[in-house]
C-alpha cells in the first residue's frame, strides 16, 4: 500500500529524514517508533504528500506522488496536532469532512453513528470540538478520517498526551479496523505501543535502525536481559562496568543487557559486592521492545 524509497528531507542544516525506505503491505499495522525529534512526523508528512522530499519517491496504493489526489480519495490521515475546527461541533466537523469526499448526509450520519458508538462519543455530537478532552479530540479526529471508509489510515502520534486508559481504547479501535482489512501506518514514541504493531520500524536521528515484527526484532536482538533487584536505588551504580552493554533503571529494578552471561554475571556480583550493595535477585527476562530500541539507539551513537 505504501512504498517509500530513499526519502530525504533537510531543514536548514538539520537532516530530518535521511534516506528512508520502507514498504507497508496491505492489511498491516505498521508502527513507526522513535524518540521525539527522530523524524517521524517529517517522514509521515512526506508519505502523505504534505512535504515534498528533497530526494526519494513515494507511491501510495500504486499511485506515484504526481497522482496523489487519486490516492487521497481512499486514505485517511490524522495529524499529530489536533487539526479540526474547535468552533464547530463534533457532528459539524464530521459533516464537513464527509462532504469534502462528496458523501451525502445520510451516509455520513449513518457511518458517523457507527463510529461514534465505538469511540463512545455519541453523547457529545453537539459539543464544540474545543470543549472535548484530549482523548476525545483524538477520537473525533479518528472519526473524521474514518467516515470516508478509507482503505488506508495514516496516524501521526495519535495517542500523544492522551491518558493510558484512552490510549488502550484507541488501540482497541485500531485493532478492530485492522481486522476489517484496513492498512494502518502509525507513529508513536511509546514502546508499549510498538509491541502492538505487526511490523515495526525503529527510527532514530532520521534513519531507520531496524525493521521487522516485534518478535523477530527481539529474537535477533543478540543480547540477554537480566532483571536485577539490589539494595540500592542509585541509577548510576553500574557506571564503569564494561561487561554491561546497557543499563536501564525502573525505580526498583535494573535491566542490564549482556552479551555473554557466563562472564558477565560473576562480574556483576563482584561489582556490587565491591560497592557493598546487596544483590537481592537476578533473573533473565524476555527483552522488551524498549530494551531492543535502547540498545539500537546506542549502537547508532557508537
Amino acid at each position: 500500500m505504501i512504498k517509500a524509497a530513499g526519502l530525504t528531507k533537510t531543514f536548514g542544516k538539520t537532516v530530518a529524514v535521511d534516506g528512508v525506505s520502507l514498504q507497508v503491505g496491505k492489511g498491516v499495522i505498521f508502527g513507526l517508533v522513535g524518540p521525539d525529534g527522530a523524524g517521524k512526523t517529517t517522514l509521515i508528512r512526506m508519505i502523505c504528500g504534505l512535504i515534498t522530499p528533497d530526494r526519494g519517491e513515494v507511491s501510495l496504493m500504486g499511485y506515484p506522488a504526481a497522482e496523489i489526489e487519486k490516492a487521497r480519495k481512499s486514505m485517511g490521515y490524522m495529524p499529530q496536532r489536533f487539526s479540526l475546527y474547535g468552533d464547530l461541533t463534533v457532528m459539524e466537523n464530521i459533516n464537513f469532512f464527509g462532504s469534502l469526499y462528496k458523501l451525502d448526509r445520510d451516509t455520513i450520519n449513518r457511518r458517523a453513528g457507527e463510529i461514534l458508538a465505538v469511540t463512545g462519543l455519541l453523547n457529545f455530537k453537539k459539543r464544540f470540538a474545543d470543549n472535548l478532552s484530549g482523548g476525545m479530540k483524538q477520537k473525533l479526529a479518528l472519526t473524521c478520517s474514518l467516515v470516508t471508509r478509507p482503505g488506508m489510515l495514516v496516524l501521526d502520534e495519535p495517542t500523544y498526551g492522551v491518558d493510558p486508559e484512552s490510549r488502550k481504547e484507541f488501540w482497541k479501535i485500531l485493532y478492530r479496523l485492522n481486522k476489517e482489512g484496513m492498512t494502518i501506518l502509525v507513529s508513536t514514541p511509546y514502546m508499549d505501543e510498538a509491541e502492538l504493531c505487526k511490523q515495526v520500524a525503529f527510527i532514530n536521528k532520521g534513519k531507520i535502525t531496524a525493521i521487522g515484527s516485534p518478535s523477530s526484532l527481539k529474537k535477533d536482538f543478540g543480547f540477554k536481559i537480566f532483571e536485577i533487584r539490589a539494595g540500592t536505588r542509585d541509577p548510576e551504580i553500574f557506571n564503569g562496568l564494561p561487561v554491561l552493554k546497557d543499563v536501564s533503571f525502573y525505580g526498583d529494578k535494573f535491566h542490564v543487557a549482556v552479551k555473554d552471561p557466563a562472564a558477565a554475571l560473576p562480574a556483576i556480583g563482584e561489582w556490587l559486592a565491591g560497592k557493598n550493595v546487596e544483590m537481592m535477585s537476578c533473573k533473565e527476562v524476555e527483552p522488551s521492545m524498549e530494551d531492543v530500541f535502547v540498545s539500537l539507539a546506542e549502537k547508532e551513537v557508537l
Binding site: P79, R81, Y85
Partner: protein
C-alpha cells in the same frame, strides 16, 4: 460544486459564531460614517483672526467689515503692535493676522494702491490655502467696488458665473459619504479574507484539509462567497446611514449600484485572499492588509485629487481597486450616471478580481511546508 458548498457552509457556521467580528461588520460602517461624515470638513470657516489697525479710519473699518462678513474670518483680537500680532500667531490663538498701515486711508483717497498685510499661519495647510484664497478675493472685490465707483461704469468688464453641478451647495458629506463607504467595504473585505487561509495554516487545520480531495479553487471560492454577502450587508448599512443621517441623495439607479458593487467586492476579496496565501502568520497578513489599505485611502482620490498627483503616483493609483469604485459610487450616487459611463472602471475591477483569484489558486499549494 458539492465541495464548494461544504466549504461555504463551514465558513458560514464559523462566521456566525464569531460574534465579535460580526458585530464589527455592522458597527464599522455606522461608527465610521458618523465620525468621518461629521468630522471631515474640507471647508474651513471661522478662522480666528487678530487685527492691528494703525489707520483707524472709515476705509480700514470698511475693509475689516468685509473680512468678517465673509464668515471665514472671526476677528477675535485687536493688537497694538506688530509684536503682539506675531505673539498671537505664535501661540496659536490666531491663525490669521491683518495689519493695516497708518497711511491706508490716505492712499485710498488719493487713488494710490493702499496696502494691507495678511499674515497666515501656513503650518496648517488646509486653513492657510483657504485663508489666502478668501483674503485675495476680498481684496479683488473691494478694489473692483472702488474702481467701478471712480470710473463710473456699470460693472466689471468680465463677469464669470460658475455653476457647480451635482453638489451645488458644496456639501462635504455628499462627497465624503460614498467614498467612506467604499473605504469601509474594502477595509473589511481585505482584512477578513486575508485571515482566511493563513488562520487555517496557523491553527493546523489546513494540514487536515490538504489530505482531503478538495481542490484549491474549491477552497478559495468557498471561502470568498460568504464575504460577498457580508460586503452587501455593510454597503446597505452604510447607504442607509448616508441617506438617513446625512441626507445624501441617491440620484442613479440603486440596482445598478448594487450590481457594479459586486465587482468591487470581489476585487477586494481577491486582494485579501491573495494576501492570505502569501502570509505565513495572521500577524503578517494583518500587516500586509494595512500596507495595502494606507495607499488605498491616500491615493484613491479619497483624500487628495488624483489630477494633482505626479505621474508615477497617478500610475500607482491605477492599481488600487478603490480608485475605480470611487468613480462608480460617486458617479451613480451623486451624478446619477449609469453603466454606460462606467464600463472602463467595471472592466478594471473585473481584471483585478480574475487576476488575483487565479494567482491565489496557483499560489496555494497543497503542502504544509
Amino acid at each position: 460544486m458539492n465541495r464548494i458548498l461544504a466549504v461555504l457552509h463551514k465558513e458560514f457556521l464559523q462566521m456566525r459564531r464569531d460574534r465579535m467580528t460580526l458585530a464589527l461588520v455592522f458597527m464599522l460602517p455606522l461608527v465610521q460614517l458618523l465620525l468621518f461624515g461629521y468630522a471631515i470638513q474640507t471647508e474651513v470657516r471661522h478662522i480666528s483672526t487678530v487685527v492691528f489697525d494703525q489707520s483707524l479710519s472709515a476705509e480700514s473699518r470698511d475693509l475689516l467689515q468685509s473680512f468678517s462678513a465673509s464668515g471665514y474670518f472671526d476677528i477675535n483680537y485687536t493688537a497694538g503692535s506688530y509684536d503682539e500680532v506675531s505673539r498671537m500667531i505664535d501661540s496659536g490663538r490666531a491663525k490669521v493676522g491683518i495689519i493695516i498701515p497708518p497711511d491706508f486711508s490716505r492712499s485710498v483717497k488719493r487713488g494710490e494702491p493702499a496696502q494691507a498685510q495678511v499674515i497666515v499661519d501656513a503650518s496648517d495647510n488646509m486653513v492657510a490655502n483657504q485663508a489666502v484664497a478668501i483674503a485675495n478675493s476680498i481684496g479683488l472685490i473691494k478694489s473692483q467696488e472702488i474702481l467701478t465707483r471712480l470710473k463710473n461704469i456699470g460693472g466689471p468688464p468680465y463677469d464669470i458665473r460658475v455653476r457647480p453641478w451635482y453638489n451645488p451647495d458644496g456639501i462635504t458629506a455628499y462627497y465624503m459619504v460614498p467614498a467612506i463607504l467604499g473605504i469601509i467595504v474594502t477595509m473589511t473585505m481585505v482584512i477578513m479574507t486575508s485571515m482566511g487561509i493563513v488562520r487555517e495554516r496557523e491553527r493546523g487545520t489546513l494540514e487536515q484539509l490538504i489530505v482531503t480531495p478538495v481542490k484549491s479553487y474549491e477552497l478559495m471560492i468557498g471561502k470568498i462567497l460568504p464575504y460577498i454577502a457580508l460586503g452587501y450587508v455593510q454597503i446597505t448599512v452604510a447607504l442607509l446611514v448616508g441617506v438617513i443621517v446625512f441626507g445624501v441623495p441617491v440620484r442613479g439607479s440603486l440596482v445598478e449600484l448594487y450590481l457594479l458593487t459586486l465587482f468591487f467586492i470581489t476585487a477586494s476579496l481577491g486582494v485579501g485572499i491573495f494576501i492570505s496565501n502569501i502570509a505565513k502568520t495572521q500577524m503578517q497578513a494583518f500587516q500586509m492588509s494595512f500596507f495595502f489599505m494606507l495607499p488605498s485611502i491616500l491615493l484613491s482620490g479619497f483624500m487628495f485629487p488624483r489630477d494633482a498627483m505626479p505621474r508615477l503616483i497617478y500610475f500607482i493609483s491605477n492599481l488600487i481597486p478603490l480608485t475605480y469604485y470611487l468613480d462608480i459610487i460617486r458617479g451613480i450616487v451623486l451624478k446619477g450616471i449609469g453603466f454606460q459611463y462606467l464600463v472602463g472602471q467595471v472592466a478594471s475591477l473585473l481584471v483585478f478580481s480574475v487576476v488575483l483569484l487565479v494567482m491565489s489558486v496557483i499560489k496555494f499549494k497543497k503542502k504544509v511546508a
